[in-house]
Amino acid sequence: MGLVNLSRMLLFSAIIRLFLLIYGEWQDAHMEVRYTDVDYLVFSDAAAMVAAGRSPFERSTYRYSPLLAFFLVPNCFLHRSWGKILFSASDLLVGLFVYSILKQRGVPEKVSLWCVAAWLFNPFTFTIGTRGNCEPIVCAVVLWIILCLMNGKVCQAAFWYGLIVHFRIYPIIYCLPFVLVISNKKSVGPSEKPILSQWVSTHKILLESSCSKVASSYSIWFSVRAIFTKEAVLFGLLSGSVFFTFTAIFFHLYGWAFLNEALLYHLTRTDPRHNFSIYFYYIYLHHQEGFSALEKLVSFLPQLIVQFTVVLQFYEDLPFCLFLQTVAFVSFNKVITAQYFVWFFCLLPLILPWSRMRLKWTGFLCISLWIGSQAHWLMWAYLLEFKGRNVFLQLWLASILFLAANTSVLLILMQHHVYAPLFQPLVHSREENSGKLE
């Protein structure tokens, strides 16, 4: 690892991505199956509409914020791969942010670089950006928000949070942990920045905890009361204002088409076509009849309960909490497509230094479980879609197996994780403590 440092890693990753971009252009031109994702063509067409002064929502199946179409306008006059370059650059930015977060938390250089490599050289992540998916931008912004919070910059974090929820709705699930972490009393350093708890080797963690003996509250009621600190309210108001401002601007520009396609579609989406979600066959079987209110509630409840439990128990260890939330959110969602996996892949390097798990053999077990169940699902999906065989039942059972695999991997990660609050809490004296508790 002596020769390896962050800049060399970033440079090498950039070269890989550039190579894939060029290869992608070649494959699109010469082979039947395109390298570029269909979504990228949708973005490009929408960007062309915007460049021509029209609404991006005239392009059917464009279901994103108009901001994305604006970013891709250079596709029309620079080069059609401009968007892919932007997404790949965001990809590299995620690597940089991961490194920055880990170094600020005191993780040693070697461990940090391994974690950054877990993102930059993950085949899943470098194909996502080069194929033209916009998820790396979202990941970069989420990590930037974590960095802002770590440096006490609540207003900046609020602005980016409002923006990213407008861009892609799913980060709304992070609002509770953000608010709880902001409002949780913590030590403040000489420059008014909160003091981050520093990494300790997991071998030593059982003996010397850097988290100290503290009255961090276990009571849910106390956590709820804590939401209403000044900073938390500021965060909520500012991010809400940013979100509504962008929504208002685009509603003014594009009317109901924007609201229906970019927002409401995602909230009410029930796609009966096959996808990784366990609900797909259920939705297909019920599609003509519609769904009763009870059914909608029952399908929403597991998601809700898991989210709340995870947040209220783990919010202090913010990256870990966000990771668990994201995995659970994706796994229990009504529609799961492969690009959603990137949402938690970008948070995985942030928790690896605090994991007791070793690659041999628990790590391999997790990877095999997850990839194996996915491959198994893909096999049945291939038989259904490309061979025309009736394998709906088998595909649905494969999706249940995938949920089971996701759950198992989540639990194994949870079990091996060393809980490490992001911020050093305030240290109270014993007497103060007992006074408070009474």
Binding site: L41, D45, S60, T61, L206, S209, C211, S212, K213, V214, S216, Y218, D271, P272, R273, I278, Y279, Y281, Y282, Y284, L285, H286, H287, Q288, E295, V298, S299, L301, P302, I305, V306, T309, V310, Q313, F314, A328, S331, F332, L384, E385, F386, K387, G388, R389, N390, V391, F392, L393, W396, I400, L403, A404, T407, L410, L411, M414, Q415, H417, V418, Y419
Partner: protein, 310 residues
């Protein structure tokens, strides 16, 4: 004498004419009906009951389906056939027509659906009947073949995919009318119509049209698969003289007649309504079970972590 005669039927082995029409044509050639001979047709057909329907219309009206869709607002096939007859038959008799009306004919037509699964290609192979004047005529004119496919509810064509084929010059143009929503299942969608224009070259022996199609999720059926049938296409040619400045194009609606043998059938897998109850129960149980598992582990883990911290 009879090479330009309008009253011939074209078969796969050439032209034939009925006895009565043959005799009457002899009288006409002998000058029996002069001076009005040139305006008399001795066949039993008008230009509109001739196997191929011919007419002249302005070239600017180049998209038949769009005209029909705009004026009628719907896509019913019987209405479209009537529309065609009216539009083409009532076109003026342009000078070239009498001479060249039977240039285009098919000697065979093959329809097949290639591929497997939800994404296939509808291949239409049309062998052109080689009229002696064909090469000369096509050299003097810009000619295109127009295929109009009526797609039933269960299948659709992706307009963006068709546009890419146009960009690669596989087709001259391609348009989709009717239901262009690519995501809806069968039960919520409607028929659509695809109009494709292909260039016809003078050395063309046959015209092959490969139309990429995709299937929708069909309605539930206990027999595991449903069959969707795609019927025969409408086929036209449209020619415009290269040299003259006329705004008129010669249209020919080619009668597929006995050549059209088979409808194409697509077998699509479908869900079974009998599964509904079991699938619903097991889906919800799995979801609840996994979530409860996560919640319990979270609480146990959290308790463990916090007790370590004390």
């Amino acid at each position: 004498m009879f090479s330009d005669y309008l009253g011939c039927w074209i078969y796969s082995d050439g032209k034939s004419i009925s006895c009565v029409a043959f005799v009457l044509e002899i009288y006409k050639s002998a000058g029996l009906s002069d001076p009005i001979a040139s305006s008399i047709q001795v066949n039993e057909f008008t230009k509109c009951s001739y196997p191929n329907i011919n007419g002249c219309r302005t070239c600017s009206q180049d998209n038949l389906m769009r005209s029909f869709f705009n004026s009628h607002g719907q896509l019913s096939e019987p209405d479209f056939s009537k529309f065609l007859d009216k539009e083409i038959c009532l076109g003026d008799l342009c000078e070239e027509m009498l001479v060249n009306a039977d240039i285009f004919g098919l000697s065979s037509l093959l329809r097949e659906l290639i591929g497997e699964g939800s994404h296939r290609q509808l291949v239409t192979t049309m062998e052109l009947y080689h009229h002696p004047k064909f090469t000369h005529f096509v050299n003097e004119h810009f000619c295109e073949a127009i295929v109009i496919e009526y797609l039933p509810t269960g299948v659709f064509s992706d307009p963006f995919e068709l546009q890419r084929l146009v960009d690669r010059e596989v087709f001259l143009s391609a348009s989709v009318f009717g239901d262009t929503n690519l995501e809806l299942p069968y039960a919520l969608s409607n028929i659509s119509v695809v109009e494709i224009h292909i260039n016809v070259k003078s050395d063309a022996q046959k015209i092959v049209v490969q139309l990429p199609l995709h299937s929708r999720y069909p309605p539930l059926n206990s027999s595991d698969y449903i069959n969707i049938t795609i019927g025969k296409p409408h086929l036209f040619t449209r020619c415009k003289p290269k040299i003259s400045q006329t705004a008129d194009c010669l249209w020919t609606l080619i009668d597929l007649g006995v050549l059209f043998g088979n409808n194409v059938t697509w077998r699509i897998p479908c869900g079974d309504a009998l599964h509904t109850r079991a699938v619903t129960i097991i889906t919800f149980i799995s979801s609840i079970f996994c979530s409860v598992f996560i919640v319990l582990s979270t609480m146990y883990q959290s308790k463990k972590d916090k007790s370590k911290m004390e």
